[in-house]
Every structure is written in C-alpha cells, then in structure tokens.
C-alpha cells in the first residue's frame, strides 16, 4: 500500500517532495513546512490511499548536526489499508509550521506538546499554550541546549556562587 502512495506522490507532487526514502520498511518523505497541510489533505482524502488517522506529531532538535535545527515528524496511518507513512519537515528557530488542526483535531494537543517542548510555533493553531510545563516556565526543555540538571545545592560555602546559577534558563528573574 505504501508503494501506491509512493507512486502517487511522485507523480502528483514531484516538485514538492524534497526527499523520499524507505528506512526499515517505512516510507519517509520530507517536504517544506508550507506544503504540509496540502500533502496531508491529499493523503487523507485520496480514495486509494485514505491515510485517515494522524497517529503522532513530534519533533527532534538537531542542533549542531544539521543546518536546519528542528525536524517535525508526522506519522499518518491508513485504517482501511493498514499502511503507515512518515512525513518530515524542517524548520529553523523562530520559523513557524502550519497547523494541522483543521484536518485532525487530535493535532491540537500534540502540536501544543511540540510547542511546549521545542518552542516551535504552529501558525493558525487555536490554543497554542504550554501543556505539560507550567504556564510561566522559561525555556523549552527538549531543546538540546536546555540542560538536564542545573540546580546547585545551596550551602554556606557556595553562597557567593549562587548568583551565577540564577541564570538557569527556566528560573526567570524573580527567583531567589
């Protein structure tokens, strides 16, 4: 089934598909961020394909490894055809990706999680707020430049050093 999708995409969207490859049996395609809704609508509504289920949206931070920092990953599944396709798009810091909430309402929370963890904004999202972290949290925890642990234990001997640790990204300015 994925091979039918491969053929269709090659003929219909040859100019929009940047990369198309198979890895461990799964069909992966890479497109530009602006083309995501169109490609997904095509995959969802095309009668032969019917990728009608959005399984998963997530992102990866390739800081220092690639020119474009983030990669957003969409996993679509076709319930009638039992097939899966992985769609990827790359955005840089500050760059927005279009939302998929108009195609699948399940995209709402999953895009919020990507925003919360990576700071990637989704244009047109109805409620792009933090979901797992506190509303006043500073920083985006899944970014590679966000340290896993940073807090210095407060003892009398390092009282003077604590000021430097105050710069921990999620602490903000008002924390003693």
């Amino acid at each position: 089934m994925a091979s039918v999708a491969e053929e269709k995409l090659k003929t219909e969207y040859s100019d929009k598909i940047l990369e198309l490859y198979r890895f461990r049996g799964d069909l992966n395609i890479v497109v530009r961020p602006g083309d995501i809704p169109e490609i997904c609508r095509f995959l969802k509504t095309e009668p032969e394909l019917k990728f009608n289920f959005l399984s998963c949206i997530t992102a990866v931070d390739y800081m220092g490894k690639r020119d474009t920092r983030f990669e957003i990953v969409y996993v679509l599944f076709s319930i009638p055809n039992r097939a899966r396709i992985i769609i990827k798009t790359r955005v840089n810091e500050g760059q927005e990706a279009p939302t998929l909430t108009s195609l699948w309402s399940t995209a709402n929370w999953q895009e919020r999680e990507v925003y919360d963890m990576f700071g990637i904004k989704f244009a047109g999202h109805p409620d792009l707020t933090r979901i797992l972290m506190d509303d006043d949290w500073v920083g985006f925890p899944q970014r590679k430049d966000f340290p896993l642990t940073y807090e210095a234990p407060h003892f009398s001997h390092n009282k003077g050093d604590i000021a430097t640790y105050k710069k921990a990204p999620w602490r903000g300015d008002n924390d003693g």
Binding site: D26, F53, S55, V60, R84, W104, S105, T106, P141
Partner: protein
C-alpha cells in the same frame, strides 16, 4: 434567554475519580456542561529528556514508569523500536513469553480500569474483586522478573532472564480461574439497572469523530471501528494466534465497557494458545552486539569477560537512523519514535501515549451532559496520568 451566565468549577487535581493528578476546568450552565478543558502536566517528570542521558538498556527502566498499570506493554514498544532500528532477530521462546506476558498485562490493566471505573460510579465491591484477581497477575510479574510492578522484564533482543520452572502451571492456573471471574463481573454489572442508567448513551462518540480525535484502543473500537494493531500490523508473534476484535456500536460508556470485558476473554484465548507451545531454546538473541555472554563463558574466557563488561558499562550502539514502532497497549496505540545518532545513548525518544490523545477528546464526550457523567466518561476512556504527563 438573555444574560445567562455560566460558572467555572475545577474538578481535581486532587480528586479520586481523576485517576491521578488531572484537573478539569468545567464551564457549567446549571448542571449542564458547556465546556470541559482538561489541564495536565502535574506528573511531568521529563522521562523523554531523561532517556537521552541514559544508555539504551538504562532507558528501558523508565518506560515502566509511564503507564505503570501496563509495564510489559511499555517495555515491548520500546524494545520493539530498538530491535527494529538494529534489525535484531528475537528467538521464538522469547516472543512466546512476550505475548503471554503482554496479554496478562492487558487483563491486569483492564481489571484496574474496571474496578476504579465501577467504584467511580458507585459500584463499591467491584474494586475489591478486581484487585483480588489482579493480584495473581502481579504475582506472575514477581515470579518472572522479581518485581511486582516496574518489571523491565523484556530486554532488547529477548528477555532479562529465562522463565522460571513452573511458569506454565501458574499461567494455566490463571487460565482456569479467570473465565468464571469475568462472568461474575458481567453478572454484577452488565444487566444491572443502576449501571445501565449511568452508562448507556453517556459519552457517545461517532466513528468519524473518534478517528478525528485520534482515539485508539477500546475507546475507538467502542465506536464500531475494528482496528487493532495486533491484527492490522502484527508484531511479535501475534499473527500466530487466533483471536477476535470485539467492537461496540454506539460508542458510549457502556459499549466501551463491553469491549474491554470481551477483550479480557480474547486475551485469555491468546494466552491459552501460547502457553502450550513455548518452544525450548535461547531466551535472548545470539546477536553479539547486544547479548551478554553467559556466566559460564565469562568465567572461562578473558575476551568474554571484557565483552560482558563492555556491554554492561558502555552499552550498545544502534546504527544512525530513526524509526517509529507501535503496538496495541491496553489503552490504545502506544508508539515509540527513536532517533539514534550512532552513539550509546538515544538521541531522542518520543512516546505516543494513548492516554494523552484519548483524554484530549474528553471535551467532546461530556458536552451537554451532567457533571456526574464527567466521572463516568473519564473512567471509560481508561487513562493513566503517568503516561499522559511522562
């Protein structure tokens, strides 16, 4: 009517029926719900971030702690993803045990769901019965892995250790006693007038809406969609066993209840087919990249001892690449997306938690219903907050 005001009330985060630490902001007009907004994140522990700082084997132990009611299913999706990435062959003995243990896990998870769901809407005694039966499965966890809950029993390439002697007998004990117990639960609830009043027609969702909202597992099948990853994309040895996929019709709380009860019977059916046929042979792969040399080998050979040390201390290094692997957990589709950069630590791990996606559909289920129905709806989509917040 002009000038009608609505009121906002908080349900939770400290509320016994929220199955963890879930807060729901309810906008109500009298007793009718206008809008429900689940607020999550109280149990966020950064499991995905923490995994990036651990070796592949160390990271496995964190998967137990997401859906703590179904640790074996979480183990399976994680090891399955790493095995897909590394293209590891798993011996058939290990696959049989994996199927048996994940199906017992499904029953255990459904038992906790049934007990808590029933006590939430007033059937007090169910909780005691369900936990009595679940105890037998938890003891099975202890029997095979030494731990009652956070088992980490499945490892990349096989199992942590071979099944102990007497495994089959204990599984058969469960197989003998459980069908009667499930009938007993059905006898208490299925035609119970109070149960029917609280569940029939409550929280109904159509098949299209369920797909749009991303519901999976029994919550989707209750709406009549016959999609189960064990059948549609068989992993492990599920294609070797016969079982049916129960579905509902209306997609209400009652249908989801019926689907889960039938699923427990089907799980017993799978276990009964598997338990007689566990083949002899190794319980872990022969792949030297990940398989620890045996104790005897390490005592006799220097190279084997070094190899053992190297795998334990340094870990193994999957090739570069990224894979998505998903299985049917008791709650729905749990997926694992792993990115490897060729080092001993995963570059990125993401779980697609079924509870997270299912709870996001809560607002649709409860709109226009009474406050008391919210409790029934939360129970019926079977969430675990550890998995939602990770």
């Amino acid at each position: 009517m002009a000038n009608r005001e609505t009121m906002i009330i908080n349900l939770g985060p400290q509320h016994p029926a929220t199955h963890g630490v879930l807060r729901i902001e309810l906008e109500i007009d009298g007793e009718t719900i206008v809008k429900a907004r689940p607020i999550i994140g109280y149990l966020h522990t950064g499991i995905e971030k923490n995994m990036e700082a651990k070796t592949y084997t160390q990271a496995l132990t964190m998967t137990d702690r997401m859906d703590y009611l179904a640790p074996m299913s979480n183990n399976l999706v994680y090891v399955g993803a790493v095995e897909k990435l590394m293209e590891v062959e798993v011996p058939s003995r290990a696959e049989y045990v994996r199927v048996i243990m994940t199906e017992l896990t499904r029953i255990a998870s459904h038992l906790v769901w049934l007990g808590t769901h029933a006590i939430d809407i007033g059937a007090m005694s169910m909780l005691l019965y369900c936990f009595r039966e679940r105890e037998k499965i938890v003891q099975m966890y202890e029997f095979v892995s030494g731990v009652r809950m956070m088992s980490s029993y499945f490892r990349v390439g096989g199992l942590a250790n071979d099944i102990p002697a007497g495994f089959e007998t204990r599984v058969k004990d469960i197989l003998d006693s459980f069908p009667a117990k499930i009938d007993e639960y059905e006898g208490l609830l299925t035609n119970n007038r109070i149960w029917l009043n609280r569940t029939v027609g409550v929280g109904a969702i159509s098949a299209e809406d369920a797909i749009d909202a991303g519901l999976t597992g029994p919550s989707l099948r209750g709406s009549g969609i016959s999609w189960d990853i064990r059948k549609s994309n068989p992993y492990s040895y599920y294609d070797k066993f016969e079982f049916d996929i129960p579905t509902g019709e209306k997609g209400d709380v009652y249908d989801r209840y019926k689907v889960r009860l039938e699923e427990m019977r089907q799980s017993l059916r799978i276990v009964s087919q598997a338990v007689g046929g566990i083949p002899e042979g190794p319980y872990k792969t022969a792949d030297k990249r990940i398989s620890l040399p045996s104790r005897k080998e390490t005592l006799q050979g220097m190279e084997q001892l070094i190899h053992h040390f190297k795998i334990v201390v340094h870990g193994f290094e999957p090739p570069e690449g990224d894979v998505y692997f998903s299985i049917e957990s008791p709650k729905g589709e749990i997926g694992c997306y792993i990115v490897s950069d060729g080092t001993k630590r995963p570059y990125r791990v993401h779980f697609r938690p079924p509870s997270f996606v299912n709870i996001s559909a809560l607002s649709r289920l409860v709109k226009g219903r009474m406050v008391a129905d919210v409790i029934a709806c939360i129970g019926s989509i079977d969430i675990v907050l550890g998995e939602i917040d990770r």
